[in-house]
Symmetry: C2
Subunit: 280 residues, 2 copies
């Protein structure tokens, strides 16, 4: 059994973190983020989650399906988050738009860790994704999903890349933004200097890459660098990294960056695994 | 110069095909489809397009940027489509929602061709994508984009797969739905019988595939079969095809089907090219 707290006043102060959800997406939430839907809530409640839930808000008919996940989470926590129950119409009145799925939660961010703390030590294999200037939440969410699928150890973000804990990015990531470790580059930190410092081979994906992806040999420790659709990575980054291209029929810009990233992660994952096996 | 026709009455009968756009998405358009935005309109006007434009509807300030593409299209056509000009507010009144980009067109469908007519003859290399029961327009649109990127010869659809010329599918495809040839399987037609008849090796992508994608040898003629996210391809199809899986860290269902399809198309494109080169 889990304890639930029924609420029926949209102005209840306990619901304040859920209020005016779309407007708040734009201005930020002071150290909090919103999780929507059952798949992502289950990840937030799982052992894999990197973040704690502050509160959970469910439509009454959604409790039964989630009771086991909630109980398991509660059992692991000295101070489990409150589970509020409200009708979909109260939920919609609070958030300001129709809440069809009836599953919401507020999570608490921690400070973004340093890049160096997320990358496996030098004697281990490593697959790290680096995002440079990606401002589209769908693409960043999709890349977290793909990073999780191929077991990337971490995702590193430059200052120009958008927030993976933005509401839509979490949803598109299928919750992977809650589980895959990510960190920001320090101000002025350079991708290539970082790669050298962490003994990672920098691999820059670009339509102008010098070699094709499938010719890239096995790499035990790789940092895959992706730039934004359109301008792509800076020429200087491409020149200093090992640059690879995905051969395409219709040239530049025909693949979505999250899709191109998935193809490269698939190749590098096999490559990291192979080079580790060859060494053994 | 191109001739344009200014219209300022939302009830003008020449604008009827653009009316109540979202409602019409659901009930169909009797042999027509809607193209939105400059990228897709340019494809509809290009030589690559498989379909003719019936009319074009632009906001006045969008004409200058498109005048060359319109003129080139007009020059190739004995009866070029009319180019209507209307303010964004008239466009929005007609369609029933805000039209920000100011670029719309109506295209004319032809009958879906037969599968056999789309596949290159037996002595040629071939890469064909087969979609079984894909009901999500984002996924079908994304797969057309990926099919174009890797130069697939055609996309074949079973009766359960949604329409690639649905408004959102065209948009997500970045216009590839207008250029990549596609056809429907005949009622009761079986993927495996079709593959045998066209001398294509059927490759079924499935988390339960017998071999990993990267171990799949070069195939000169391949039919890549994808099933819907969730249930996937029928067990019987998987059993009768060459079945391959993409190794993943977190198991079943962690990649989006359009992304998984892109990874497989990338591998098969290299494979089709390689086996052709080996033969020469």
């Amino acid at each position: 059994m889990i304890e639930t707290i029924p609420l029926d006043d949209p102005d209840d102060p306990r619901l304040a973190p859920y209020a005016a959800m779309r407007e708040r997406d734009l201005v930020g939430r002071a150290g909090r983020f919103i999780v929507e839907g059952e798949v992502t809530l289950r990840l937030l409640l799982s052992r894999q989650a990197r973040f704690a839930a502050e509160s959970i808000l469910l439509a009454p008919e959604r409790v039964a399906g989630l009771v086991e996940a909630l109980a398991a989470h509660t059992a692991r926590r000295p101070a489990p988050p409150p589970v509020y129950i409200a009708s979909r119409s109260v939920m919609s009145a609070v958030t300001g738009f129709p809440i069809h799925r009836g599953v919401l939660a507020v999570g608490i961010r921690d400070g973004d860790p340093l890049a160096a703390d997320l990358v496996p030590p030098v004697q281990m294999p490593a697959l790290v994704l680096g995002l440079a200037g990606l401002t589209n939440h769908d693409n960043v969410g999709g890349l977290f999903r793909n990073a999780a699928a191929f077991g990337a150890d971490a995702v590193l973000l430059d200052a120009g890349t958008c927030d993976p804990l933005y509401r839509k990015a979490i949803r598109v990531s299928a919750g992977a933004a809650l589980t895959v470790p990510f960190g920001r580059l320090a101000a002025g930190e350079d991708w290539l200097a970082l790669a050298a410092c962490l003994s990672l081979t920098p691999v820059a994906l670009s339509p102008r890459g010098a070699e094709t992806l499938s010719d890239l040999p096995a790499l035990p420790r790789a940092l895959l660098l992706l730039g934004t659709e359109g301008p792509g990575l800076p020429a200087e980054t491409i020149a200093r990294a090992r640059s690879v291209r995905i051969p395409m029929a219709s040239g530049f810009d025909s693949l979505n960056v999250a899709t191109a990233g998935a193809i490269a992660l698939h190749h590098l994952r096999a490559s990291v695994t192979k080079s580790t096996r060859d060494k053994e």
